[in-house]
């Protein structure tokens, strides 16, 4: 950069800052977020298995909080998806499908990780809280898309099994700031449990695909 350009850009940066300050008399968005985070850290106490470190956000959580209720910029979305995709642990033996019957139990179970829960488990994924899965279970939520016929519609292919694994392991690898917990990434479910949930979605014999 030429010295003259440097000065010009420094001056315009200072002007832009001044303009911002004039437009926003209150705290900036970033200041409000920092204050709110500090306030939260004085407002909770550890309880059972839920320690205060649960209020420490990782980069994905911080970015998704920052852009919540606003449009997520494309470059930020790509950055989140890239980092989360890179963190997925694929099954060492290449086996994606476990037991759909156990997967159904995991999908029904809502306990795990609450301060009121036994830290020894059991832990579920509570899929039905947000998704339709089997046709038989009519008590399902609508925060996530319906997954009835998930495998049947998409095809029982290796690519789809791999995608289902990745989605359960870390949904934000494919959809930045998705509402869905990152079940494998956050070690909510074990690798075997992820396998069972993938079977619920992708086994042709699963009630999801009947």
């Amino acid at each position: 950069m030429q010295p003259m350009t440097k000065i010009v850009s420094a001056v315009s940066a200072a002007l832009a800052l001044a303009a911002c300050a004039a437009m926003q008399p209150g705290p900036t968005d970033a200041e409000a977020r920092a204050k709110a985070t500090a306030m939260m850290k004085t407002s909770f106490k550890e309880s059972g298995q839920a320690k205060l470190d649960r209020l420490n956000q990782d980069e994905t959580q911080a970015l998704c909080s920052q852009y919540a209720g606003k449009e997520l910029p494309k470059d930020v979305a790509e950055r989140i998806e890239k980092a989360n995709l890179a963190s997925i642990r694929w099954p060492a033996d290449g086996k994606y499908l476990g037991d759909w019957k156990r997967g159904e139990q995991i999908a029904q179970r809502g306990t795990g990780f609450q301060f009121s829960d036994d830290p020894k488990g059991p832990v579920g994924a509570n899929c039905y809280a947000c998704h339709q899965l089997s046709k038989e279970e009519i008590s399902f939520g609508t925060i996530g898309p319906p997954l009835y016929q998930f495998g049947k519609v998409r095809g029982f292919t290796d690519d789809m099994r791999r995608y289902a694994w990745g989605k359960v392991w870390n949904a934000q690898a494919y959809s930045a700031c998705s509402n869905m917990p990152r079940f494998g990434h956050a070690t909510i479910l074990t690798e075997d449990q992820v396998r069972d949930v993938v079977a619920l979605l992708m086994d042709p014999a699963s009630p999801v695909n009947r």
């Binding site: 209150g26 709110a36 909770f44 550890e46 209720g69 990780f113 956050a186």
Partner: protein, 269 residues
């Protein structure tokens, strides 16, 4: 009388729990009928009556009643007070919701320690909470009054701004925030409808129907409890009663409900 209404509630519950093999559409109709049936007799009235008694009873080391407690509209004015809370109180120099103000009055007027005032904030069978009863009484005195929370000073503006950030704060092992469940129209968790608290209509519906008698718990629950239990399900640590974050979040939600007639204590499943 109480026994009869409880028995009736149990019978209604049983009637609606059984036919769950119905198709979802008609199951939702049935749940709606159940909700309407509940409105006939609300046990919250028992909490309201006990709360009024507590309000007028001399208690604490100073053997004083709460009748001189200033809920924002002057000492002793209860009618309509809840519809204007949270607000900034000059004597305490902070923003307070109803529960914070009740604790303040129990300490300053009745001479209780803060720890004593907060000893039993959420009741359980065989362990009744005085705070829940007092909240039932005070809120019942705002029934039908339009919500009118004012951001007319810097402290209230800041509480609202920080409350909004807390609403969208994603954290914990599940990445949940309040917004995970409460930022879109027409969503359900299992069969439970979720109000969109980021929009006026949803915030009004959600906020004006707390506190509520919870049939499933046999207890009257306050707004502080509502936030506490949401954060529990978000897998967060335990929200401290009347903590700054709880008051800021309440300010955000209560202000968003402005204009709607307050309609609690309500009754919910």
């Amino acid at each position: 009388m109480i026994g009869t209404s409880r028995a009736a509630l149990v019978a209604v519950l049983a009637a609606f729990a059984a036919p769950f093999v119905l198709a979802q559409g008609s199951a939702q109709d049935e749940i709606e009928k159940y909700r309407q049936a509940l409105q006939d007799g609300n046990p919250a009235e028992l909490w309201e009556a006990r709360g009024e008694g507590l309000w007028k009873t001399a208690r604490g080391p100073k053997k004083a009643t709460l009748e001189q407690c200033d809920l924002g509209k002057g000492p002793g004015v209860v009618r309509g007070a809840y519809a204007e809370l949270p607000r900034h109180f000059a004597d305490a120099n902070r923003v307070m919701d109803l529960e914070s103000r009740l604790v303040w009055c129990m300490v300053t007027l009745q001479g209780m320690t803060e720890a004593d005032a907060k000893r039993n904030v959420f009741g359980a069978p065989g362990r009744r909470s005085d705070i829940e009863a007092l909240v039932a009484f005070v809120t019942s005195e705002s029934k039908g009054v339009p919500m009118n929370v004012r951001l007319d000073n810097a402290a209230m503006k800041e509480a609202y701004a920080l409350g909004e950030k807390i609403f969208f704060f994603r954290g914990g092992p599940y990445d949940f925030s309040c917004a995970t469940c409460h930022a879109e129209d027409g969503k359900r968790i299992r069969l439970q409808d979720l109000p969109n608290l980021t929009k006026k209509e949803g915030a009004q519906r959600g906020y004006t129907t707390w506190p509520a008698y919870r049939v499933s718990q046999g207890e009257l629950r306050t707004f502080q409890w509502r936030l506490y239990d949401c954060f529990r399900q978000q897998r967060f640590p335990e929200l401290e009663f009347t903590s700054p974050a709880s008051v800021a979040l309440t300010t955000f939600l209560a202000y968003n409900a402005n204009g709607a007639k307050f309609a609690a204590p309500a009754i919910k499943r």
